[in-house]
């Protein structure tokens, strides 16, 4: 059962990195949208794409935290007492981001809107970077099982810094593809091309980063490197393949379809990491089966997963249908 719950945790991570990632990336492009009328149109598109889902996506993060502390309380406390700096930054970043976005949407005065905008965009970059450093720290086994690890070197190190940058790049890449798809949805060629072009650049950067990541892992996180090539290679290949396919097809076919390819590439990367790290939660130690909560707790969690799927999926579908209707009316 502990593996089942761990899989549920990975699922949450997957969802957060794909959906939340696109949200964060939208903030990145908001920062880079430029000024004037063109910048305003780009931001309007970002608003429109992020708005309906912006909070639902952070629910995935809460979900991950709750599953983690309930199912694997020991490692959870270890992570929290070691990586409190990046996690604290991420927590505050999320508040700033959420409120900046919400207030930009409701406020009418332009000075307030500009301030909210800046806050939204800046924190959209800082937060995924902080989360990336956390992932890097975990992957390179820098969190001791007993917690209270070194507060600085645990996340200021080659693996963490690299993963932080990679996270920002991944978010920007995902968001550019999603936004290009949305621009196509509203039949705006100019915006679509602008974001497609950005997506292409971001894809190149992300791809180059991912490849150099193997070298970083080789130097800094040997177990991860070995397992990535040894056990998790199908997912690595899948990620590379999907990423390349997305890159080649970008601009040639509809961004709506490319969206799935690039999400898949990012998702495969997360799964590759998870598979490479198994059976340990903290990279090189804290085995999943050993640090799991008692059986009854895990069974309860699994039951809640099932209930959530049964209740949430139909209601989300209804919401989606209504949103599509709203879009149709707008067009």
């Amino acid at each position: 059962v502990s593996y089942l719950v761990a899989a549920g945790l990975v699922l949450g991570l997957l969802a957060y990195s794909m959906f939340g990632g696109a949200d964060f990336g939208a903030g990145f492009w908001d920062l880079a949208a430029g000024g004037g009328v063109k910048g305003r149109a780009r931001r309007a598109l970002i608003d429109r794409s992020v708005a309906p889902v912006w909070e639902a996506n952070h629910t995935w993060l809460i979900y991950c935290l709750v599953v983690m502390w309930t199912a694997f309380p020991g490692p959870f406390a270890a992570i929290m007492t070691t990586l409190y700096l990046p996690l604290g930054i991420a927590a505050l970043g999320i508040v700033l981001r959420g409120s900046g976005f919400a207030f930009r949407k409701v406020t009418t005065r332009s000075d307030r809107a500009r301030l909210s905008s800046t806050v939204f965009a800046t924190s959209s970059v800082i937060t995924p970077f902080a989360f990336g450093t956390v992932a890097g720290a975990l992957a390179s086994g820098r969190v001791p099982a007993g917690g209270n690890g070194p507060p600085v070197s645990s996340w200021i190190n080659p693996s963490s810094l690299f993963t932080g940058v990679l996270a920002v790049a991944l978010c920007a890449y995902l968001a550019a593809v999603f936004l290009a798809a949305d621009a196509e949805g509203v039949m705006n060629r100019e915006l679509r091309d602008w974001f497609s072009h950005r997506a292409w650049v971001a894809a190149m950067v992300t791809g180059a980063l991912s490849v150099s990541g193997l070298f970083v892992a080789h130097a800094d996180a040997e177990r991860l490197y070995a397992r990535l090539l040894d056990v998790a290679w199908p997912f690595v290949l899948l990620s590379i393949g999907l990423g390349l396919a997305a890159l080649l097809l970008l601009g040639r076919m509809s961004p709506r379809l490319v969206r799935y390819l690039s999400s898949g590439a990012v998702g495969a990367l997360v799964v590759a990491w998870a598979v490479a790290q198994a059976p340990y939660l903290l990279g090189t130690h804290a085995a999943i089966t050993v640090s799991a909560a008692p059986h009854a707790t895990l069974v309860t969690l699994s039951a809640i997963f099932v209930a959530a799927a049964a209740v949430v999926v139909p209601s989300l579908t209804l919401l989606y249908v209504l949103q599509q209707q709203a879009r149709l009316e707008g067009e």
């Binding site: 709750v66 996690l87 008692p294």
Partner: protein
């Protein structure tokens, strides 16, 4: 004063304890104000909606529409501050989550489910205006207060578990033998949950009514303002006496099940019978000072007889005794909660009598002034009640199992984290008020469609193309 200093100086508490407690108190104190608006405010919204459809009252529908937008803004703020709380549980209290997460985490997992549902249905309801048939739209809103109820009950389940932990056993410092149902429905679950749910209706009702009462004081006595006032005030006024009754029952439950907290609430020093009720008063040098004593009243209230024996603070073993300052805080918070509760009950009764006699509000302007202030009073009452349950539990985090000083993190500068959080929350708080005011201003210019809200459909689509 000596005692306080001694207690502070002699303790070997980690330096993170004070800022961590302050930060948790502050963020929870902020978040708890938003809870009524996710739970009870959508109910008011549905009442207005129902009335609007039933009687064909367009203004009632307008109220429901505007309230749904306010609900969305406040829900978004609540979701964000709830996210921070989730982080804080881990960052500030790793001793709690690391050791007890396997049991304590379960109610939060249940809460996550309800939170998801609530977020989805708030969005459905807002998108559903003009897109669903009136009744289908009304029913699409019904899950919102229900999910709010489930979510609130889940979080209170976690809190009540800290007061009366159950449903698990400890072996070698690890939680084993978890019985999830007993964790959730622990000994304090029913009275705490019921009290909190009703409090949410009281707060939302009085705050919303207060807004319209203020408008009526300025001379806006049209149907729209009256209706907004009546829906909210009637709800709060109906719930208020029930809340007083439930509060009384809850206090007796605390007397039986959490004697240490009861001793602090009632400022009972030595175990005895014929205990007087102390109104006000502080604990200094182990003595009760400055209070007004009502003979036998505490014993009478706890067990309906002056012979009822109440265990005092001296019955708590020395190492686990709360500090005098904590006792005083708990006691005064309890007094404030009860006093504000009765003040609100008085206002509700005034309204009730007038309504029964003449089918109208009391004509006195003092009633409207009172109603305008009632929202703030209700929030004060809510906060005090929360202080009673939290400070009254000290020095424990999980009563009998985990001391607060063992739960707190031992690394990092929590003051810095606290200051950062404080600054951001102040900004968010001010921002929320500004946004709500700008929404109101636009509504006074009565252009409804221009108000944009999170979860709502975008109106700026024109500029995209």
């Amino acid at each position: 004063v000596n005692h306080v200093l001694l207690a502070l100086a002699s303790s070997d508490d980690p330096g993170q304890l004070l800022p961590a407690r302050e930060q948790m108190a502050f963020t929870l104190g902020f978040h708890i104000i938003l809870v009524p608006f996710g739970l009870a405010f959508p109910f008011l919204m549905l009442v207005a909606n129902y009335r609007g459809i039933r009687t064909g009252d367009a203004l009632a529908l307008l109220l429901a529409r505007r309230w749904s937008k306010v609900a969305a803004v406040l829900f978004a703020v609540g979701a964000v501050s709830g996210t921070v709380l989730t982080f804080e549980l881990g960052l500030l209290w790793p001793g709690l989550m690391g050791r007890f997460g396997a049991a304590y985490g379960i109610p939060f997992a249940v809460e996550g489910l309800f939170f998801f549902l609530e977020a989805i249905f708030i969005a459905i309801y807002i998108y559903g205006w003009d897109r669903l048939s009136p009744w289908a739209h009304f029913w699409s809103g019904v899950p919102v207060p229900l999910a709010g109820l489930g979510g609130t009950a889940s979080v209170v389940a976690a809190n009540s578990w800290m007061n009366l932990p159950g449903g698990f056993a400890m072996r070698d410092g690890r939680v084993v033998d978890v019985r999830p149902a007993d964790v959730f429905f622990n000994g304090a679950f029913w009275y705490e949950t019921l009290h909190m749910l009703l409090a949410a209706y009281v707060v939302a009702g009085f705050v919303v009514a207060g807004v319209y009462a203020a408008g009526m004081l300025k001379g806006r006595t049209d149907h729209y303002h009256r209706l907004g006032f009546l829906i909210a005030f009637t709800t709060a006024a109906v719930v208020m006496p029930v809340q007083i009754f439930v509060g009384d029952v809850a206090a007796r439950q605390v007397f039986h099940k959490e004697p240490a907290k009861f001793a602090a609430m009632e400022l009972v020093r030595g175990t005895s019978t014929h205990v007087p009720e102390t109104l006000g008063g502080v604990l200094v040098d182990g003595h009760v000072r400055y209070g007004i004593h009502v003979p036998y009243a505490a014993s009478l209230l706890a067990g309906f007889s002056p012979d009822t024996r109440i265990r005092g603070l001296d019955a708590i073993p020395e190492p686990f005794r709360p500090t005098p300052r904590q006792v005083t805080t708990t006691h005064l918070a309890f007094d404030v909660m009860v006093a504000t509760g009765f003040a609100l009950l008085g206002l509700a009764a005034w309204f009730g009598v007038s309504w029964l006699r003449r089918r109208d509000l009391p004509s006195s302007r003092w009633f409207l002034r009172g109603a305008a202030a009632a929202g703030v009073v209700a929030i004060v009452s809510l906060e005090s009640g929360w202080v009673v349950t939290e400070v009254g539990r000290q020095p424990w985090t999980v009563v009998g199992f985990l001391l607060t000083r063992d739960a707190v993190t031992t690394s990092g500068n929590v003051w810095a984290f606290f200051l950062g959080t404080l600054a951001i929350y102040v900004a968010v708080g001010c921002g929320t008020v500004l946004v709500l005011r700008s929404m109101r201003r636009r509504w006074e210019g009565s252009s409804d469609e221009e108000v944009e809200v999170p979860y709502g459909p975008s109106r700026s689509q024109g500029s995209v193309r």
